[in-house]
């Protein structure tokens, strides 16, 4: 396998993770206008819960489902007891609150499970499989499959279901949605649940591919911002495209100049987007309101 193929496969794996983090962020942003710095925190909790399930003998898919489900509920609960009260307040303040939330849940996770790298063994194979001429590891396949499933579910759900329609209405004009009887708080809760659940899966995919410390996983939550911004903050498709593009640029950089530049490269992309086209590739909304 050529080294350039490596770039492609790495792009797909890490891009999938960025996409999972990003799509949750976008869903939450569209429905609640909240800029969440807490996705990293949800990833960490998801990763720990996944490991706990695996140690209970639940296997790869069941553990994933349980971890995602627990975070799904957890995200809704967190919203209900805290962020529901500041629904509609200054976006600036709410964003800082998400920083507090993320910091808190990462620290608590470390208190419970320790700050050491999260290692999960024996739940997924390591032999690469050949798919469409590329040699992908099972972990990469897992990440790609999860991403595909989540995106399909979200896109279809938003277009076809009545809850999805309500969510789109709230994302469009929240005040009008309230006037039309939509339970804006309930929709926001659902958005939080989705954000947390998808972040959990992103966390699982990440720890299956590398042995990362909780703080490292949390930082990945921040690294997803360039991808989100490139795609456009309120575009679900954008989350995917932005993720793949940023992952690609990062991996190219690693390939040519070395891996210590990867964070800086990602944020250089972010600055580029900010200067050239702040709304990203697919975004529409005016994001000045924070």
């Amino acid at each position: 396998m050529s080294e350039f193929e490596n770039v492609i496969t790495n792009t797909l794996s890490i891009g999938a993770i960025y996409a999972l983090i990003g799509v949750g962020f976008v869903v939450m942003y569209r429905a609640t206008r909240v800029v969440s710095f807490a996705q990293g925190g949800f990833m960490v909790v998801g990763a720990f819960l996944f490991r706990a399930m695996v140690e209970l003998g639940l296997g790869l898919y069941l553990s994933t489902v349980v971890a995602a489900a627990l975070l799904f509920v957890g995200g809704a609960v967190v919203f209900r007891i805290t962020f529901a009260r500041i629904l509609g307040e200054e976006p600036f303040v709410v964003a800082i609150a998400t920083i507090g939330l993320g910091t808190f849940i990462v620290a608590v996770s470390e208190l419970i499970w320790g700050p050491n790298p999260i290692v999960v063994r024996g739940v997924i194979g390591t032999k690469p499989v050949s798919v469409l001429g590329l040699s992908l590891t099972p972990v990469s396949l897992y990440a790609i499959a999860m991403t595909a499933i989540i995106f399909a579910v979200l896109i279809v759900g938003l277009r076809r279901t009545s809850v999805g329609l309500k969510m789109r209405a709230v994302a469009d004009v929240p005040s009008l949605a309230a006037l039309k009887g939509v339970d804006v708080s309930g929709i926001s809760m659902l958005a939080w649940a989705i954000a947390a659940g998808t972040a959990a899966i992103a966390g699982v995919a990440y720890i299956l591919s590398t042995q990362a410390h909780p703080s490292g996983i949390n930082s990945l939550g921040l690294l997803a911002f360039p991808a989100i911004l490139l795609g456009g903050f309120d575009s679900i498709v954008g989350a995917l495209v932005g993720a793949l593009l940023v992952a690609f640029v990062q991996n190219l950089a690693i390939f040519y100049v070395g891996s210590q530049y990867q964070d800086v490269i990602a944020y250089a992309v972010l600055l580029l987007v900010l200067f050239v086209r702040p709304q990203g590739l697919f975004g529409q909304a005016d994001l000045e309101r924070l």
Binding site: L165, R168, L179, Q284
Partner: protein, 254 residues
């Protein structure tokens, strides 16, 4: 002409005092976070089945009045005082969702449809099922533009959509803020007549907030004139002419 505060209580068909009014508002005030009073001690009555017009210049407090009836979100930090009785029940200060459930529906002045949703989706959200090929509440244009996003509709079409969405939700009391704004006189006439027909057919009551006194007087049963958040005149629509109202606008234009 009656004095401010007297309000209509007669049933317009029989001329007798019959059913209790659908909406009774006493001393309503709407106070914004910076202390400004959008509405200051307003009394208002909407009889069952009537269309009541609220006229006034820009900034007179008409929209604040409607918002005050429907309710504000907690995060808007607006204080509503006074009494609002809807079918005898006190609803002042309630949340928009609660008043919506009781049957008060507001068609706001500016954002009255969901721009990024299609016409069909807008209606679906409001529970409407409209078979293809048939006019939607008399509006052919909406049927033709089913799959267009609402942002691409003309002003008149958008207003039609907003009304159709409202009818889909079967309101008891429809509040319409500035129906005529930005529309050509022909469109205004069509919409007003449609409104009158529909309210008569379904027994819905309505409050129309309007700057266009001419159009409003043709459709309303009773009118209130608002100035600086206070009621300065009430009358039966048939007893008043636009010129009379112009005077009450403190000499300014309509």
């Amino acid at each position: 002409m009656s004095e401010a505060g007297a309000g209509p209580t007669l049933d317009r068909a029989t001329g007798e005092k019959t059913r209790p009014p659908l909406l009774e508002v006493r001393d309503l005030s709407v106070i914004y976070p910076n202390g400004a009073r959008g509405v200051n001690g307003v009394d208002l009555v909407v009889p069952d089945g009537a269309i009541v017009g609220i006229l006034g210049r820009n900034g007179a407090g008409k929209s604040s009045l409607l918002r005050g009836l429907v309710g504000f979100l907690r995060s808007e930090h607006v204080t509503v005082t006074g009494s609002v009785r809807f079918r005898g029940e006190e609803i002042a200060g309630g949340a928009p969702r609660a008043t919506y459930r009781r049957g008060l529906l507001l068609v706001p002045e500016r954002e009255k449809v969901f721009p990024s949703l299609t016409v069909e989706d807008n209606l679906r959200l409001c529970g409407g099922v409209h078979p293809e090929g048939e006019p939607i509440y008399e509006f052919d244009a909406l049927d033709r533009r089913r799959t267009s996003r609402a942002a691409l509709l003309s002003g008149g079409e958008r207003q039609m959509l907003a009304l159709a969405m409202a009818w889909d939700q079967n309101p008891e009391l429809l509040l319409v803020d500035e129906l005529s704004l930005g529309l050509a006189p022909v469109a205004i006439k069509t919409l007003m007549e449609h409104l009158r027909r529909r309210t008569d057919e379904t027994g819905t009551s309505a409050i129309l907030v309007e700057q266009d006194a001419n159009a409003a007087l043709k459709v309303c049963d009773y009118i209130y004139v608002l100035n600086h958040g206070e009621v300065t005149m009430t009358a039966e629509a048939s007893a008043v002419s636009p010129a009379d109202i112009q005077q009450k606008y403190l000499g300014g234009g309509l």
